[in-house]
């Protein structure tokens, strides 16, 4: 179970650390490279474990009698809202770079 308090404590702690590093000018090109690499590793790990969780849930409900309609529903509900949202945002924001 995600704890919002812990989650945002990490974010705030990170922001404070970043500001301190910026003020003390201890942040060079090398540190920037290391930070980028760490961010990439944690993003990929998060994607990996989220995908396992999604796959496990899908497989759990695929064995039922209504599996085909379940698959159609899951595919449509997971992809369509996001894609239509992006297209509407493209119109409202007036292009790729926003207002």
């Amino acid at each position: 179970m995600i704890s919002d308090i812990i989650l945002y404590s990490f974010l705030i702690l990170g922001i404070a650390l970043g500001i301190l590093m910026n003020i003390s000018k201890k942040f060079g090109k090398k540190s920037s490279k290391v930070l980028n690499m760490l961010v990439m590793i944690s993003i990929l790990d998060l994607i990996f474990f989220m995908a396992i969780t999604a796959g496990e849930f899908i497989s759990r409900y695929l064995s039922g009698g209504e599996s085909l309609s379940l698959i159609y529903s899951i595919i449509l509900y997971s992809f369509l809202p996001g894609i239509i949202g992006v297209l509407i945002a493209l119109i409202l924001l007036g292009g790729k770079n926003g207002k």
Binding site: G14, I15, A16, N22, V39, M50, A51, Y77, P81, L92
Partner: protein
């Protein structure tokens, strides 16, 4: 284009491998979910450092970011509602369930349990499809951003203030962090008030 293509490969392949492992290999899911949460904590801490280092740049673009964030939120809601109508029509499902699932915006931990109270079948669809929306935002955002630019933040829905914030900042730059945070925050605040109304629509 070749460099961009190289950037898309890691998130997409990691997503595909993870999905296949989840589908075909039995794993202790409690541990898998816990590990995912720990990585989320680590990622948010690291993103915090990135935001803190670029605080001056973020403040410079804050007004534009807030403006874009509000427009993105409106787009997310309009997109979700239109999708609800379309899916209800295609699959001949009740409009109240279709709208409640599609407006979930990736917030699976709210949508799944909430809809299950009324109908367990739609609860499962709501949970899995919103979980998948979050997972594909994480893996497809680099591709969408290269095609659509800032509007692609809308695909993340409510998750742009936490889970997908890292990937948004990584690929679209720290200047868009305020838009993503505003979008996620507004949806997170509004959604619990809209859902009880949507579920009663006939």
């Amino acid at each position: 284009m070749e460099n961009r293509f190289k950037e898309f490969i890691p998130p997409l392949s990691v997503f595909a491998i993870g999905l296949l492992i989840g589908l075909f290999i039995k794993l202790p899911m409690n541990y898998v979910e816990d590990i995912a949460i720990y990585w989320l904590y680590i990622l948010l801490g690291l993103i915090g450092v990135v935001v803190g280092i670029s605080a001056r740049d973020i403040l410079k673009t804050a007004i534009k970011g807030i403006k874009n964030g509000i427009l993105l939120t409106i787009s997310v809601f309009i997109g979700d509602i239109i999708s609800g109508f379309i899916i209800s029509f295609i699959l001949k499902q009740s409009l109240n369930y279709a709208l409640s699932i599609s407006i979930g915006s990736g917030w699976y931990s709210l949508i799944g349990p909430f809809i299950s109270i009324y109908n367990p079948y739609y609860g499962v669809i709501g949970f899995v499809s919103n979980l998948l929306r979050e997972a594909y935002t994480l893996s497809l955002f680099p591709v969408f951003y290269s095609i659509f630019g800032i509007p692609s933040i809308a695909m993340g829905g409510a998750t742009t203030m936490d889970t997908s914030l890292g990937i948004i900042i990584k690929y679209s730059g720290v200047k868009n962090s305020s838009s993503a945070l505003i979008q996620g925050l507004i949806i997170t605040i509004i959604l619990p008030f809209i859902l009880p109304f949507l579920i009663t629509i006939r």
